[in-house]
């Protein structure tokens, strides 16, 4: 363990997860996952519940041991090291503050365990509480604080011993939207200041996109895609990612033509649509295949004469403030949504509207769309 009494600046540690698997009985929670996180990077594990993201985090923290594979932190093999010897900070879902200790007692716990001298502890606790703007709350009990304040105590407790890596397990899940957005910014700023590597588990895609350097989308115990937020949103590599991250329209159809990376699909009722073939699956798509096209509502527009030649019947329009969401129905019966800047003349229910998008703004994946 590093000398915590004297170390004032912390640098992040890299994380190297190699071929890690974990099963609970017949349930394969994590299937052969590999993940490399650079020192100081902020990486989110994003996925629905049961996707294995929490299990992976628990194995990095040392509360679960993998059935196979290696977990290295800062180049050291940590796979089977006891959790108390890993020197990794962690913020739990429900904060897990010790109810029988004061706020200062909670923050001091890790330093007491490391036998840091008493006056150093007092100083470090003061600094940590000041950092999360809770200087005057040291003597309070956790249950005397609001949810947001408890969350900040949990962050102070997880960072006071300068860990090179901090794990966060849906730390903002229990807070309301406004507070969540504020704390997202605070956590991000704190992480930049500390320089620690952060692994952040969440099921909130907005949160993952705003905070992370890179996002690992998990599904069914596997990482579906690991890339920057921008690439994740604009170049999803699977139907699951396109559907889970952000809002999208999914259209299933048969490939009738491929050229220059653009596939044309027949989606029934004589409708043809076009989109770029997903990079990862490029080789896997041929004429005659059943495929799924994904197009974001804000990338589609109301205009005739595009190669798509598609029309919808307007079912509903929802004013959201910064734009207008038009919900329509295709001739095939599928729902199709468009986000557009508030037009001069809003369409009314029952109107026939022409719809188009640029082929390169849509992505085509092999296989059928998942049932909604």
């Amino acid at each position: 363990m590093p000398d915590l009494a004297t170390s004032q600046t912390s640098r992040g540690a890299s994380l190297d997860v190699r071929d890690v698997s974990k099963s609970y009985g017949d349930v394969k929670a994590v299937r052969d996952i590999s993940l490399f996180v650079k020192a100081g990077e902020f990486v989110s594990l994003l996925g629905p519940s049961g996707s294995g993201k929490t299990t992976l985090l628990m194995m990095i923290a040392g509360f679960e041991y993998p059935d196979a594979g290696v977990i290295e932190v800062g180049g050291q093999d940590m796979t089977y090291v006891e959790p108390n010897r890993r020197n990794i900070g962690m913020v739990f879902q429900r904060y897990a503050l010790f109810p029988h200790m004061t706020v200062a007692g909670n923050v001091a716990f890790s330093l007491r365990m490391r036998r840091v001298p008493r006056n150093t502890i007092d100083e470090r606790v003061r600094q940590a509480l000041a950092m999360v703007r809770l200087s005057d709350y040291g003597h309070r009990r956790p249950d005397q604080l609001s949810g947001g304040q408890q969350q900040r105590v949990a962050v102070a407790r997880a960072t006071v011993f300068d860990p090179p890596m901090i794990l966060m397990d849906e730390p903002l899940g229990a807070l309301d939207k406004k507070l969540r957005e504020q704390l997202q910014i605070e956590i991000k700023a704190l992480q930049r200041e500390l320089g620690a590597t952060v692994i952040y588990v969440t099921h909130d895609q907005q949160e993952a996109l705003t905070m992370s350097d890179r996002v690992a989308v998990m599904n069914n115990g596997r990482i579906e895609q690991l890339s920057s937020p921008k690439e994740l949103y604009e170049k999803p590599q699977s139907v699951f990612v396109a559907d889970f991250v952000g809002d999208t329209n999914l259209l299933t159809g048969t490939v009738v033509d491929i050229g220059n990376g653009i596939a044309s699909l027949d989606i029934g009722n004589g409708n043809r649509v076009q989109g770029a073939v997903a990079r990862e699956s490029g080789a896997g798509i041929a004429v005659g295949d059943t495929t799924t096209l994904s197009v974001r509502p804000e990338r589609a527009f109301l205009e005739a004469g595009s190669p798509q030649g598609l029309s919808i019947t307007c079912v509903d329009e929802i004013y959201t403030g910064h734009d207008l969401l038009i919900v329509g129905r295709l001739d095939t019966g599928a729902t199709f949504r468009i986000r557009t800047k508030t037009p001069d003349a809003a369409p009314a229910s029952g109107d026939r509207l022409p719809v188009a998008w640029r082929p390169e703004d849509a992505v085509v994946f092999p296989g059928k769309a998942p049932e909604a």
């Binding site: 923290a61 200790m101 490391r114």
Partner: protein, 282 residues
């Protein structure tokens, strides 16, 4: 619930309680008050029965023995019960159920049956003596029945569930994330237990100790059967005064002292609990 609806709901609730209150008054409060009252009159007001108790060393010995055995029984129940309660609270559901069945099984068996079982085990020609002789550990049969040790073992067995259940429910209410959090912050298994789980389980420990102690000092059937006349405890003494000596006033006086001790113990524990909360805080 609004004040209005609770005010409306109060009257019928009270009416429904009336039969119970009537039964309690006639079957419990009145006879108890009567018994306790008799200890002060012979037939005029007197404290002679209390003087008898204070001046007679036999009664002193019985009181001291009762508290001594009850305290030991508490400690034994705690030492055996805490690990069981902890295991029950922290293991998988079906294992917890299995342990619960073993713990609660005795609770559903008659105390009489359990006490006779101990007689069967501990008597001169009993199972334990047979076993020890067969194993060659002893040559002559040991006298185990009708000793303080026998009373202690049998009482611990009978009262163990009353220690386990409150501790179990307290530990189960402690989120496992707290222990994990302590481990993550650098505490080894044992320190995490010592600094987090143990202090947070104290309310349950306190309730369990209180249950066991108060039940133990007033225990009757088990000490009477397993302890015999030599290992007299307060409960047996009271029964003896009433059924054999027909000395109701003296029985009343002993009962009042027992009741006073029970209430005092409960109050002390309540206080110790709130003090414990403050101490455990940091």
């Amino acid at each position: 619930m609004s004040t209005n609806s609770s005010a409306l709901g109060r009257t019928p609730a009270f009416l429904m309680l009336l039969p119970l209150i009537a039964v309690l008054c006639f079957a419990v409060f009145w006879p108890v008050a009567n018994l306790l009252g008799r200890s002060f009159f012979a037939p005029d007001f007197t404290l002679q029965y209390y003087e008898t108790i204070v001046s007679e060393p036999l009664y002193w010995r019985v009181f001291i023995r009762t508290f001594w055995i009850s305290a030991l029984c508490c400690i034994l129940c705690l030492l055996i019960g805490f690990p069981i309660a902890y295991a029950m609270a922290r293991t998988s559901a079906w294992r917890a159920l299995l342990i619960a069945a073993c713990v609660l099984g005795p609770l559903w068996t008659s105390i009489l049956v359990r006490s006779y079982a101990w007689i069967f085990l501990l008597q001169r020609n009993g199972v334990v003596n047979d076993l020890l002789i067969d194993m060659g550990l002893i040559e002559t049969r040991l006298r185990m029945l009708y000793t303080e040790g026998a009373v202690l073992v049998a009482m611990t067995h009978v009262l163990l569930p009353f220690m386990i259940l409150p501790i179990f429910s307290t530990i189960r209410a402690i989120p496992t994330d707290l222990e994990r959090s302590a481990r993550n912050l650098g505490a080894g298994r044992f320190r995490a237990f010592l600094t987090i789980t143990l202090p947070l389980s104290l309310p349950g420990v306190s309730a369990g100790v209180l249950f066991v102690f108060i039940l133990a000092i007033g225990f009757y059937i088990t000490p009477a059967l397993v302890g015999g006349p030599r290992t007299l405890m307060i409960g047996t003494l009271i029964a003896q005064q009433i059924t054999e000596l027909l000395n109701w006033p003296l029985a009343g006086a002993i009962s009042l002292l027992l009741l006073a001790v029970s209430i005092a113990t409960a109050l002390i524990f309540q206080r110790a609990l709130s003090v414990g909360r403050i101490v455990g805080n940091d």
